[in-house]
């Protein structure tokens, strides 16, 4: 990692000011998160109190108990992990190939294609749900494992929705790999697929990690497909369904909502912590023009 040493040259008072600012901003940004976790631990009745306190004297695990005691909670968790995992890997591979095509080749409709990739994201997703519903239903008749009620019916749409962004991001990383490297590889007798998988792929791997974070979050936090496509097979539901239980017409269970959200956010944070070093070194590649 080519860490910039510029920071060391900054005059001391300025650096202290900068660090103080960073810490204050971090505290402000983290405060809503703190409030979420705090509300999850507050006893019922204290969450909406006329004397809001940033602490609680009687922490309670009741809200978490209501989350974990849901039937099949563990199963939902594993389903979410599986869906997000497959989406991350599949969309990274597909996007890598496509990004190589648009970054390394000139061909007709290249620019049009790039813009087309974005178009699907411009439509309200509810508008696409009905056509996709019937598509999944019909697809399920001929291809087992992707029809309605299967995890495949969640995986496929998520891959489709995370691809455009992944291709756009990865394009920058692929572009960053010097042309000379490619030519040298061919001179050494490497085949095109050898170059692709054994030289280019490892080079843009940090970029793949970076884009994976986005697909992971979108698949992990999705409500709409989960509640539209998993109809009778509740054993194939995902984690957000365990959160939605707490929203009710005659009064939301705030404690449950906060506890379930905390439980949902933690795996993403762990995923982040694991990838954050690669993420930062990875994204940098995108600027090398």
């Amino acid at each position: 990692m080519s860490h910039s040493r510029v920071s060391l040259r900054i005059r001391r008072p300025w650096r202290f000011a900068a660090e103080a600012t960073a810490l204050i901003v971090a505290a402000v940004v983290a405060f809503p998160l703190y409030w979420m976790v705090l509300s999850a631990f507050k006893p019922e009745g204290e969450i909406q109190s006329t004397e809001p306190r940033p602490w609680t004297t009687a922490p309670s695990l009741d809200s978490f108990r209501r989350v974990f005691q849901q039937e099949d909670f563990g199963r939902y968790f594993l389903n979410s992990l599986f869906v997000a995992g497959v989406v991350v890997v599949a969309s990274a591979l597909i996007a890598f190939l496509a990004a190589t095509a648009v970054a390394r080749f000139t061909f007709r409709f290249r620019t049009t294609l790039l813009i087309m990739f974005l178009v699907a994201q411009m439509v309200p997703i509810e508008a696409l749900t009905i056509p996709m519903f019937f598509l999944m239903r019909d697809l399920g008749e001929s291809v087992p494992g992707v029809g309605l009620n299967t995890l495949g019916s969640l995986i496929l749409p998520h891959i489709a929705f995370s691809l455009p962004f992944a291709i756009w991001m990865l394009r920058g990383f692929v572009k960053a790999v010097p042309e000379a490297l490619e030519e040298a590889a061919y001179l050494d007798g490497a085949s095109r697929s050898r170059f692709l998988w054994q030289i280019l792929f490892p080079l843009v791997f940090p970029g793949l990690v970076a884009t994976s974070v986005f697909s992971f979050i979108s698949a992990w936090n999705d409500f709409l497909f989960a509640k539209s496509f998993i109809i009778s097979a509740t054993e194939n539901s995902t984690l957000p369904m365990a959160l939605l239980v707490f929203f009710k017409a005659e009064g939301n269970d705030w404690g449950g909502i906060m506890a379930a959200s905390t439980v949902m956010t933690i795996p993403v944070l762990i995923f982040f912590v694991l990838v954050q070093r690669r993420l930062v070194s990875g994204l940098g590649g995108a600027v090398k023009d």
Partner: protein
């Protein structure tokens, strides 16, 4: 060509792949010439096999599950060769789930629980089965509360059985009333005066917590003044409606309700946005001396500061001794058109919505029974439900049983109307007329 490294086979494969992809895309486009529709009526009536039931998942679902499990075991014992699978669906996902069940009969259950305002829409969507004959032949049906039955009747046909009802009444803080030496209000005018008196003497409290988006809290004011949301065109039961929210009587009710928004009771800046839950939360947390809450809000209020310091009376009408009609909410059970076990499904519905189950559900969950005799029994045992049962028996009313109601509800026509008035954007007559226009558009669709 410098790309001679590219093997012949891979070039060939690329030549093959692209047309194949193009063909696949064309194939998809062909099948998509018209948007899909689904036919979900079934002619079969199997006498054994698996029956699927969808019920709403409550936050504290275990007691409900226990009652249902008992009823199901009973049913399975009486019907050889049947297997009932009950699934509890999160209430927040019900709209998508139930529509999906209509669209994909293969995934659809046989019996569903649904909110009673959704009946007309689900009938129009072709989802519910007409069970008038079986309902008429059911001996218990004579005791079914007429308002609950009305919510199931579309075009003279019955589309299910009511499972429980919910109704709102006036919660008030006994300690505050004692401190200020007040009596529970006996008329609507007294209610408004009491609310303002409390706020002037105890500025830290809202007299009566009201919400601009709390439509069900506002309806009693409209009904008590002789107005209505909409009038049924032609004879009763035609299910064709015409908005009446701009009639003189309805406007009187709207005026009475909106007069509660202001610095003398519930400041518009806060209360204009509130829905029903917010007013109940204000009461539960000790910020309000009165609130219009349902029997189903008991638990939330017991969990807050108001615990043990409140009582409930029916919401007073215009004249002394009258009760303001309240909206009879609640849930129904219905059989789906796509069921291949019609007879069994209706039998199961009768078990699940029967007197025994309703009694047990009340004990477990506090759901008010829909049979007037069973309801009388529970009111006898528990003083808390008395004002609610009295309201239901005297003067409960229902929203228009029209598919248009779903659109009116979704488009927030009534909340917008109340908010326009209390924020001073429009006069009562202008706002009600605009709302009436939007309601008529929705009824026509």
């Amino acid at each position: 060509m410098k790309s001679s490294q590219l093997s012949v086979s891979s070039r060939l494969s690329s030549r093959v792949t692209v047309p194949v992809v193009a063909l696949a895309l064309a194939g998809l486009a062909m099948t998509g010439c018209a948007p899909s529709t689904s036919d979900n009526s079934s002619k079969e009536d199997e006498k054994s096999g698996k029956l699927r039931v969808w019920l709403f998942q409550e936050v504290n679902n275990a007691p409900k599950k226990k009652v249902i499990d008992g009823a199901v075991a009973d049913f399975e014992e009486k019907h050889d060769g049947t297997d009932v699978e009950v699934t509890y669906i999160p209430i927040d996902t019900r709209a998508q789930k139930i529509k999906a069940a209509f669209n994909d009969p293969k995934s659809a259950p046989d019996v569903i629980e649904f909110g009673n305002t959704d009946t007309a829409g689900y009938v129009k969507d072709g989802g519910l089965l007409d069970i008038s004959k079986e309902f008429g032949a059911w001996t218990d049906s004579t005791n079914v509360d007429p308002t609950a039955k009305y919510s199931l009747t579309i075009g003279g046909k019955v589309y299910g059985a009511p499972l429980f009802v919910g109704v709102r009444a006036l919660y008030y803080r006994t300690d505050v009333f004692k401190e200020l030496d007040l009596e529970p209000p006996a008329t609507q005018d007294e209610l408004i005066a009491t609310a303002k008196k409390i706020h002037s003497e105890r500025p830290d409290l809202y007299g009566l917590a009201v919400g601009g988006a709390y439509t069900y809290g506002a309806m009693p004011f409209i009904w008590a003044n002789g107005g209505d949301l909409a009038d049924e065109k032609g004879k009763f039961g035609s299910n064709e409606y015409e908005a009446a929210i701009d009639s003189a009587n309805a406007q009187k009710g709207v005026k009475a309700y909106t007069s509660l928004f202001g610095d003398d009771n519930c400041p518009a800046a806060k209360c204009a946005q509130w829905g029903g839950n917010d007013t109940v939360e204000a009461f539960a947390s000790g910020k309000a001396a009165m609130a219009i809450g349902g029997d189903f809000n008991r638990q939330a209020i017991e969990a807050g500061k108001a615990k043990g310091k409140y009582k409930v009376v029916p919401l007073p009408g215009v004249k002394e001794g009258d009760i303001a009609p309240a909206f009879a909410g609640g849930n129904n059970l219905g059989v789906l058109k796509s069921t291949s076990h019609r007879t069994l499904a209706v039998d199961l519905l009768k078990t699940l919505a029967g007197k025994q189950t309703q009694r047990e559900l009340y004990d477990a969950m506090g759901f008010l029974p829909t049979f007037t005799d069973v309801r009388g029994d529970v009111a006898h045992k528990d003083a808390f439900v008395k004002p609610f049962v009295k309201t239901l028996n005297d003067s409960a009313k229902f929203v228009p049983a029209s598919p248009g109601w779903a659109a009116i509800d979704a488009q927030l026509v009534l909340p917008t109307m109340f908010q326009e008035i209390v924020s001073g954007r429009k006069s009562v007559s202008a706002a009600t007329q605009d709302a009436a226009k939007k309601m008529d558009e929705a009824f026509e669709q």
